[in-house]
């Protein structure tokens, strides 16, 4: 782990350590900054919060949001839940897997995109829904719109 990452982890801990129930806020700020929770962070957090490694690891691994390895440069999530299914998300997902050459949870060979399932984005009235990089929400995504998302991801860092 490089020094910058270590500093990020330390400052995430310092910022939330004294709040009640600090573990999730700490993990969020680490992942927001680094894109995942490095294994090296686990004992450091444990020591700061007086928790065992196993306890911290248990929390990190319980929550689907937290990653234990770096994702691709962009994360594209396709909603798999009922409303989106009713509007064609199963076919959209099949198209995405084929177009990217990966399965769900996989990362493209060029490292540009990690494809993930998600269970409802609250955008059910504009199904099928897709989320890009955790904050860029799209609705009524058809194959062409999906391909445009992929092109945009590939052309940016």
């Amino acid at each position: 782990m490089d020094e910058a990452a270590a500093a990020t982890i330390d400052s995430a801990i310092a910022a939330s350590k004294h709040r009640p129930g600090p573990l999730l806020p700490i993990l969020h700020s680490i992942q927001d900054a680094l894109g995942y929770i490095p294994a090296e962070a686990v004992p450091v957090i444990g020591q700061a919060l007086n928790l065992t490694r196993a306890q911290v690891h248990g929390v990190v691994s319980f929550y689907p949001h937290f990653r234990r390895s770096p994702p691709g440069r962009h994360v594209v999530q396709i909603c798999q839940a009922e409303s989106c299914q009713a509007m064609g998300s199963t076919a959209l997902t099949a198209h995405a897997r084929k177009a990217l050459g990966v399965d769900l949870h996989g990362t493209t060979a060029d490292g540009a995109i990690t494809l993930e399932p998600v269970y409802c984005l609250g955008n059910c009235a504009c199904s099928p829904a897709v989320m890009v990089d955790g904050n860029d929400l799209r609705g009524h995504v058809d194959n062409a719109a999906f391909d445009a998302i992929v092109d945009a991801c590939r052309s940016t860092r």
Binding site: G21, L49, V59, F62, Y63, P64, E82, Y119, R138
Partner: protein, 517 residues
């Protein structure tokens, strides 16, 4: 003269290009030297029209939608700044029948105001509920909520006032108000719309709850899939603090209420209240056995009111206009209004706030306009992923908690997902089990293992294995075990969508038997 233009900041509107439309309108106005003020409001919830742009003219707020950046030049050319007609002209927004036919109480300000403007909030009645609660005191505030008949909108429909009484009666040095903004149910988005469109109402409702039970700290647990709502809430808390709805001197009194937003981490089970509390404490979101009730020993072991966003956001109007006003809406034991959410394969998806008692058919056809595909509606799922599938023959069922329970279904959080006649209900049954397997917290065997077995059974049925009848029998018995042997409703209610699919659409489970068992 400055012309005010409303363009929603609601996440769904943004997902359809509202930000790009706002930029295009600002650019075009600058190019033409037009004096405009753009306000980013919430959404009215007519999503087939989003982005819905409103221009304030002499005649009122004239709506245009759905607007794309490409339409902007033409709108200016046509004279939309003075409400001129145009292909996208929808007339006065409040007069669009979809909206006009609703009974908006909890959502009264959503879409109407700038969600972060305290002046707008007050001008539309905001803040009066908290003022009244501080005036009448804790006991009378709780009794007002009891009398209103408000039941929890998060799913279980437990009477909100009764929960508050329990927490109020428990003596403790510290109590908490927790808002459940996990909104994990697929097909639902009312919590999100409220948080993005009128967050001050939720904050006011939580402050009232604090006053009622003697809690000075609140948390809003928002799911990580809702970055827009989270940002709006954080901004709104600062606005509320400056206005005295949060902080150490509520509306100038000595009452204290602090409030913080916490982000979830993608686990559906953390919408279950005890799992949510574990998560807030920084633990794995494993469900706690009850008792003790959270109202007696909840967050960090302290008495805790945990309520859904819509439950809490309905409290200010109850305090402001009185319990009677609220309970005059609705039927039977289902008092007030519910913000139904219409989604899936439907022509006019969106938010419909109506008094309990209207029928599914009215929602699906009078509001929804039938399916989006134009094909017959075959089934709807009401109440999220644990809700039953309802066939067309039961569309005259009134939307009422007890009427649904009597049919083995549930209203829940009010999500209604529509499927046309191309749906394969055996696939939907498989999906319900798969979802349970993915999201199980792992505490009890029927849920953790049963759901995985259920997927395997369904895979065989879908593949056309020759032992179908045995598999269906096994599936029923598995559902029975899950129904009776699960600690919480994830394992305990996953059988609802499975068994309702099997009961109403048995033909979908009869695949050609082409494979050996």
């Amino acid at each position: 003269m400055t012309t005010t233009i409303y363009i929603p900041r609601d996440a769904s509107a943004i997902s359809r290009g509202a930000d790009q439309v706002a930029h295009a309108i600002a650019d075009e106005a600058a190019r033409r030297n037009a004096d405009v003020k753009i306000v980013r409001n919430g959404s009215y919830g007519m999503f087939w029209l989003e982005p819905l742009v409103e221009v304030v003219c002499a005649a009122g707020r004239i709506a245009y939608g759905p607007v794309t950046p490409k339409d902007v030049k033409g709108l200016f050319d046509a004279g939309f700044l003075t409400g001129a007609t145009h292909r996208l002209h929808q007339g006065i927004a409040a007069r669009i029948p979809y909206l006009e036919k609703q009974e908006r109480l909890t959502f009264e300000r959503v879409g109407v105001i700038d969600p972060l403007s305290i002046d707008d909030y007050r001008a539309h009645g905001g803040g009066r509920g908290l003022a009244r609660a501080l005036e009448i005191g804790p006991a009378a505030t709780t009794e007002e909520v009891v009398k209103s008949g408000l039941r929890g909108r998060g799913g279980a429909a437990f009477p909100t006032g009764i929960k508050w009484r329990t927490a109020a009666a428990t003596v403790a040095p510290q109590k908490f108000i927790v808002c459940n903004a996990d909104e994990g149910d697929s097909g639902t988005f009312s919590d999100r719309m409220l948080m993005e469109g009128d967050p001050l109402t939720l904050i006011e409702g939580m402050a009232i709850a604090g006053v009622a039970v003697g809690a000075t700290q609140g948390y809003i647990y928002v799911r990580s899939e809702y970055p827009h709502a989270e940002a709006t809430l954080n901004a709104a808390i600062e606005v509320a603090r400056a206005a005295g709805y949060v902080g150490t001197h509520l509306l100038g009194t000595n009452a204290v209420f602090e409030l913080e937003v916490r982000r979830g981490a993608g686990a559906y089970i953390c919408g279950e209240e005890t799992s949510l509390l574990e998560s807030l404490e920084g633990k794995r979101g494993v469900v706690r056995a009850k008792p003790p009730l959270p109202a007696i020993a909840g967050l960090f072991g302290k008495p805790t009111i945990i309520n859904n966003v819509i439950s809490l956001a309905s409290v200010p109007i109850i305090l402001d206009r009185g319990a009677q006003y609220y309970s005059d809406y609705g039927m039977g034991q289902s008092k007030g209004t519910l913000a139904f959410q219409l989604a899936g394969n439907v022509k006019h998806p969106g938010l419909v706030e109506k008094a309990f008692g209207l029928t599914l058919r009215e929602i699906l056809y009078d509001f929804g306009g039938g399916s989006a595909s134009g094909r017959p509606i075959r089934a709807v799922q009401v109440g999220g992923p644990l809700g039953a599938y309802i066939p067309a023959s039961q569309f005259d069922l009134p939307l009422d908690y007890e009427a649904f329970i009597a049919k083995g279904a549930m209203v829940g959080h009010g999500g209604i997902v529509v499927f046309d006649d191309t749906v394969d209900m055996a696939q939907m049954a498989r999906y319900a089990l798969e979802f349970c397997a993915v999201e199980s917290c792992g505490k009890c065997t029927p849920c953790r293992i049963g759901s995985v077995r259920g997927v395997e059974i369904m895979d065989g049925i879908l593949a056309g294995k020759s032992d179908r009848d045995e598999r269906v029998t096994l599936l029923r018995s598995l559902c029975d075990t899950m129904l009776n042997g699960s600690l919480c409703a994830l394992g305990g209610m996953t059988p609802y969508p499975v068994l309702s699919a099997l009961e109403h659409f048995p033909q979908d489970f009869e695949k050609p038997q082409t494979q050996a068992a």
